[in-house]
Structures are given as C-alpha cells and as structure tokens.
C-alpha cells in the first residue's frame, strides 16, 4: 500500500461523553469523503459501536474471533450497507477486556492497515485500565472527547497525561454536547474554559452541540453526520474535513437572540 493509513484512537476517560457516537459519525463522514475507513470497537464485553452504525444484525465474527484464529480478518470486518468505504470490526460481547492482549491488539491494527484503509478509528473503552492501554497501543494519534462539565474535563486531563506517557502527544480535542445557551447565560463551561484548563498541549478539533438529532439518529442506527439538517451532523462532517487537513471554520452555535436576551445583555454589560 503506497497510501498512508492514519490510526487514531478516540478516548475520553469518563464514560458516557459520546466516544462511540463520535467514532461512528466521524467514520461515516470520512467514508463519504471517499476515505477508506475501518472502525475498531475495542470495548470488549460492552459492544456498542455496531448499534450506532445500525450493523448489529450483521455480526458473525468479532475481534476476539480474529485474535484467537476462529475467523480471518476479512470475515470479521463488516462493510457498511450505505457506504462500502466504511467497515466495522466489532468487539466481542460475551468476553472481557482480558481476552485480547496489548500485543494482539497491535497485531490486529497492523493487519487492518494491510487491507488498504486510509483511516483506522479505534473506539476506546472508558476507564484507564488495560482496555485503555490496549486501545491506545496501536494508535499513532489520539482524539480526546470531553463534555463541558467538570468530571469529564478532569478525566480528560488525566487521559491526556496517560496518552503522553504512551508517546501520543498533542492529542486533538472534541468538546461534545455543548449547550451554547447555558454558556451564554454564564451557567455552563465554555469551549474556551475547557481549553484553558486543559492547557495548550491539546488542539481543538471540533465543537459538537447538544442535539436531540443524535438520539433519533442513534435510534435509527444512522449516524447523524450522514443526513443534512442537524447542527451536530454538520459539526461531525466539519471534524472529518479538519482531520483530512482542510481549514474549516468552527460553527457559529450562538442562537439568534430575541429582544429579551438583548436587554439582559445590555444590563449585564456583556454583548
């Protein structure tokens, strides 16, 4: 393969911040930009990426079957029904994190690379234990997903330190589930606040607003980035383009304000 393959782990430390949704959406958006994308679900025992992609009924073999030699990699890789550029290597559901060693995970990544993909996105399990170490072992780059909320930012900070220890320096940052109205009302942390406390070693890759469309699209098994008309979908498509090196401005998430909001801004001196 002459084309280079970028191996990116998507991690967060804290659970429930949107790692899997982010992985599915960036993957789908990259595939629509004609990249050849493989998504690796390394959350062994807690398989979820298949649901985000709507591929749960097509799983025959999983990553543990590949590692233990019951299936060849090509048999286990599921091609997305919407876009043949996108493939998923599912996690095992009936095993646990100890089923795959760090070295085996690195080997799986090497084997997937050899299939001619241009992007491999690794969905990392929550936590900082073995599952995290395995998922990050084969990666060359890292994306840290956080919510603008204290606990997840704290965990992101810890993860950034651990990534550095694994030679994954200057990770990219996605602030997910931002609520612009609350930020404006001084009720919630802003993206700038998050960046400031995490320090300059992280590069901001994207800002994704809290969006009901995520819930409905996940219910349908269709990544929100595949359909027009939602802010979150646009944000994920922009992230995919930035990953490919394009200079895409950040979305203006400020909502149009009414006369009451403007009066409040006038009184508070914040315009």
């Amino acid at each position: 393969m002459s084309e280079t393959c970028r191996v990116i782990v998507i991690t967060s430390g804290k659970g429930g911040v949107g790692k899997t949704t982010t992985t599915a959406n960036i993957g789908a958006a990259l595939a629509n930009l004609d990249e050849k994308v493989a998504l690796l679900d390394t959350d062994i025992g807690l398989r979820n990426l298949d649901l985000a992609l709507g591929l749960e009924n097509r799983i025959v073999y999983d990553i543990v079957d590949v590692v233990e030699g019951r299936a060849r990699l090509r048999q286990a890789l599921i091609k997305d029904k919407r876009n043949p550029n996108l493939a998923l290597l599912p996690a095992a559901q009936t095993r646990d994190k100890s089923a795959v060693s760090m070295r085996q995970m690195q080997q799986v990544v090497e084997d997937v690379k050899a299939e001619g993909f241009t992007f491999i996105l690794i969905d990392c399990p929550a936590g900082i234990e073995q599952g995290f170490k395995n998922a990050t072992a084969g990666a060359d780059e890292a994306i840290v997903v956080t919510n603008p909320e204290m606990a997840s930012v704290r965990d992101a900070d810890r993860i950034i330190g651990l990534l550095e220890a694994q030679e994954l320096r200057n990770p990219m940052l996605i602030v997910n589930r931002l609520r612009p109205k609350m930020v404006k009302a001084q009720e919630a942390l802003s993206v700038e606040d998050v960046q400031e406390v995490l320090g300059s070693s992280v590069r901001l890759l994207g800002i994704v607003p809290e969006d009901d469309a995520i819930i409905t699209s996940t219910n349908r098994g269709e990544p929100v980035s595949l359909a027009d008309g939602s802010m979150s979908g646009q944000a994920f498509r922009d992230i995919a383009r930035r990953l490919r090196g394009e200079d895409v401005p950040f979305l203006d998430l400020e909502e149009k304000t009414g006369i009451f909001d403007r009066l409040m801004q006038f009184f508070s001196g914040k315009r």
Binding site: R158, A185, A188, L189, V197
Partner: protein
C-alpha cells in the same frame, strides 16, 4: 439567572455564576491532580528539608511530615516540623 444575580450585576458586584464557580473549582482540582508526586520524590524532599533544618534547629526527624495540599487559591506544599530545641549556636538564632 436569579434576581439576586441580576441585582449583583447591576450593582457591578463580582458575580459568582455557575460557570465561574465550575471554572475555579476545575482549575484547583486539576492543579491538585497534576501535582501528585511519586512517593519517592516526596521522601527525597522530606530528607533534604531535614538536612537543611537540622543545621539550625533540633527537630524530631521521625515526625517531620511533608505533603501537598489544596489551599486557598492554589496548591501548597505543607511541612509539619515539630521542634525539640532551638539551637543557641545556630546562625539563625
């Protein structure tokens, strides 16, 4: 925004809004998380402080306690050093 916040703003009082509170708490907790030193480093600091102080003060070596703690506005290195006797011949006294 509550009425009290509004009045505070109109009177130009420094406000403690939830965003500011979260930012301050987060800054502090991260400072504390990041300053977690390995036990071996803490032991080294303890020994070296002892060496310097022992020149001037008679201290109880076994009860010297060094720790990093969260304090007002930041993280502080706290050393608790029980003194047995001040040395009369020390340059400091």
């Amino acid at each position: 925004m509550s009425l009290k916040d509004m009045i505070d703003r109109l009177l130009g009082r420094p406000e403690k809004n939830p965003r500011g509170v979260a930012r301050d708490r987060l800054r502090l907790v991260l400072m504390q998380d990041r300053s977690a030193l390995p036990a071996s480093t803490m032991e080294l600091i303890r020994k070296e402080i002892l060496q310097v102080l022992a020149k001037h003060i008679d201290i109880d070596e076994n009860s010297l306690d060094v720790s990093i703690e969260r304090a007002d506005g930041g993280v502080a290195l706290i050393a608790n050093i029980p003194i047995r006797n001040m040395r009369a011949d020390g340059p400091a006294s």
